[in-house]
Amino acid sequence: MTATASRDVPPEGTGPAVGPAAAGAAAGAALSSVGDLIADLGRALAPDRVRSSATEVALYRRDASMLAGEAAVICFPLTTEEVAAAVRVSRAHGRPFVPRGSGTGLAGGAVPTGPTPPVVIVTTKMNQILSVDPVARMAWVQPGVLNLDLSRAVARHGLHFAPDPSSQQSCTIGGNVANNSGGPHCLLHGVTTAHVLAMEVVLPDGSVVELGGLDPEPAGLDLRGAFVGSEGTMGIATRIAVRLTPLPPAVTTLLADFTSFEAAAQTVTGVIAAGIVPAALEMMDALITEAVEAFVHAGFPTDAAAVLLVEVDGLPGGVAAAAAAITDIARANGARTVRVATDPAERALLWKGRKSAFGAIARIKPNYYLHDTVVPRSQLVPVLTQVYEIAARHRLRLGNVFHAGDGNLHPLILFDKREPGVMDRVLAAGNEIIEVCVAAGGMLSGEHGIGLEKRDFMGLVFSAQDLEAQSWLRQAFDPAGACNPWKVLPSGARCGDLQDLPPGAWI
């Protein structure tokens, strides 16, 4: 069994990986041998784009989360027809399938799980920008196009793709669609769903449909809106029409530093309450700021308790007025300095600091667990206070680097997984952080999704009726439960069992 190879042996007590004995009804057809499956996929695609060696299959057991599952085979379609064929072959062999882009997801959404090891369908070779219409400000892209590649390709038209997750150099547009991805600049411009006009989708039965449209109000239900953010559980988008946003004529970036995180958080609340919607409003605490400065040398104050990175964009008058107002609000809340950057090189340096945070903290500890919750903006101070207390109680180092403007927290727990027993403390602290955020009126995820990671926390924010209504949507698209099974919704039997990971998945 590939799952038990090398250092990825599951800790005791998490149960065995699923094997053929656990094969179930989900995929609808009788389970056949992996050899037959591989042969049929090879005929449907091309033998060299169907990978089944132990090493390759092991590579695709994980995404960027701490979770792992087990795949039967990995395939790399090039066209919509090949995706549909891969889905049909999987179904004919009684196998579920799991869509995957670059695998940068942090909630386990692309981890292969199911009643029997699934076929992983990887879209990274479908990486063509098919057409760009600069007048209508839209583009058709394949799902494997990288987020930043799209923005770079359309920059010569004065346009960009607004969602900018931290992983934008490596994440795919298809993955952004699946997760309804965000990013710092979504505060003003909106998350992925606001930037997807239409999609060609291979449904879980292998049929192909177009959801949404290039027109603003396509007839019928907003199935496009229902699909975006469904975490690969309702089909595979194979062509995506995205909205492109004009680059702003004026941009100012401010860096304000504070001697307490409370003062920084109050500045965030003050800015929003003053009716200012910055393009981005990011907060970094002392631990992160120090690590970033040592890494990037952007001139971040290393003795600050917290810094705010604020960007305002738009027409020059509004930008100047907002920058002045933000400076005043920051000073009124005790900011020591407010650095104002208008030239592109200095702004880029400040952003490099923010976007390097996750690399920079590797200098402190080799491993991190990045959380993602969202709370009302007015609750930032009490929630962050409790988050720091939780880390202290579990003897863990924790930093915060997050999208403060929309209340989207990213507590970052630093650890060395070689330290005996540390994973238990990391997970326990993470559970407490989630509970604190929910108690403050927050939600489980602002942009990373539910996936496997938070599936069994859904009962904290939704009733059984709420969850059942969500399952109606999913079942309408995938009545057999063959598409990315075990993700997002807790199974009825497990509802309420917190962090009870399914067999075959382990941390």
Binding site: C186, G190, T193, L221, G225, G229, L315, G317, M458, A469
Partner: protein, 327 residues
């Protein structure tokens, strides 16, 4: 109003609404009847219910408002104005149109170009299911990917999947300046060229002869765009033109230019950069553009609609007779 907590009075009103909807007979929800005919009339004999009304809480520092579905858009706006904010739903008749009605129909207002479609306004929905149960979707925060997006599914569903009782909406700051400009000479201005040169205009309307532009934001920016982009071909006007009420077309914004050739198809007003067209005779406009009318929906999409309806409302008791898409 800045109190975040939801008191028992409010919850009991939602519970009463669920009880009113009940579990058995055919039922439809009535708002201001301003778009009552969209999707067809409810089957005769269908019991009418009214959703609760009132603004539950407006939190300017969160830029969100919790409001009951039966509240008129004008009543909501007057509460938000006290906090210097607004929602950009913009129905034609805000004194009559209700929040729930606008969302159930799902048509966006004339400022969609800047503020986005109506569906992007909705953060949380509490609706009554066909079983008479209260169901929550989404959450009261401005950024949220916790679970499936039933909010967007419900916007535009004409009350056929659930009856909206209460919503949390995203607010925007009221702009410091808000000024309409109209072209002076008929046919003298290319609306597409104007749209391409403006940055984040709130609305660009075109009726084949004249162009209207709404600029909002910082007064200096509005002055500068009016002078530098619109220029002497435009003059400030009191507001937008009256919009034809015969019906509505949805065109890809890149195809709007074809409207200039539709000839005698009645009056129409198009949203440049968006693609919605209000027309006296939408079928005539569609025919002139060689577009199907009513718009066609692909067979597999119709199957998905049926699959959803069967699960959300297996007995077909919610708004019977209304169709979101073709039969």
């Amino acid at each position: 109003m800045t109190v975040a907590s939801r008191d028992s009075v409010v919850d009991s009103e939602l519970a009463d609404f669920a009880t009113l909807v009940g579990t058995d007979d055919p039922v439809c929800v009535v708002g201001g009847r301003t778009q009552w005919e969209v999707g067809g009339l409810p089957r005769p004999g269908t019991r009418e219910v009214v959703a609760p009304a009132g603004v539950v809480s407006h939190q300017p520092e969160e830029m969100i408002v919790r409001v009951r579905a039966g509240t008129t858009v004008a009543a909501l706006d007057s509460v938000l104005a006290m906090g210097g904010q607004m929602v950009a739903l913009d129905p034609v008749d805000p004194a009559s149109a209700t929040v729930g009605g606008v969302l159930a129909v799902g048509h966006s207002g004339i400022r969609r170009l800047r503020y986005g479609p109506a569906r992007d306004t909705v953060l949380e929905v509490r609706f009554v299911s066909a079983r008479g149960q209260l169901v929550k979707a989404g959450g009261p925060v401005v950024k949220n990917v916790t679970g499936y997006d039933l909010c967007r599914l419900l916007v535009g569903s004409l009350g056929t999947l659930g009856l909206i009782g209460e919503v949390v909406l995203r607010c925007h700051p009221r702009p410091a300046a808000h000024r309409w400009f109209g072209s002076v000479e008929p046919g003298a201005v290319d609306p597409f060229a104007v749209f391409g040169r403006l940055y984040r205009a709130s609305s660009v309307l075109w009726d084949g002869a004249h162009v209207w532009v709404l600029l909002e934001g910082h007064p200096d920016d509005v002055d500068a765009q009016a002078a530098d982009v619109l220029g002497p071909g435009f003059a400030e006007v009191a507001g937008p033109p009256s919009l034809p009420v015969g019906g509505r077309l949805s065109l890809a914004p890149g195809n709007l230019r074809a409207l200039s050739g539709v000839g005698r198809s009645g009056r129409w007003v198009a949203q440049v950069g968006v693609g919605t067209v209000q027309a006296d005779e939408p079928s005539a406009v569609a025919a002139a553009l060689s577009l199907p009318w009513p718009p066609a929906v692909a067979p597999r999409i119709v199957v998905l609609h049926h699959e959803l309806k069967q699960r959300f409302d297996p007995d077909g008791r919610l708004n019977p007779g209304r169709l979101v898409a073709g039969p």
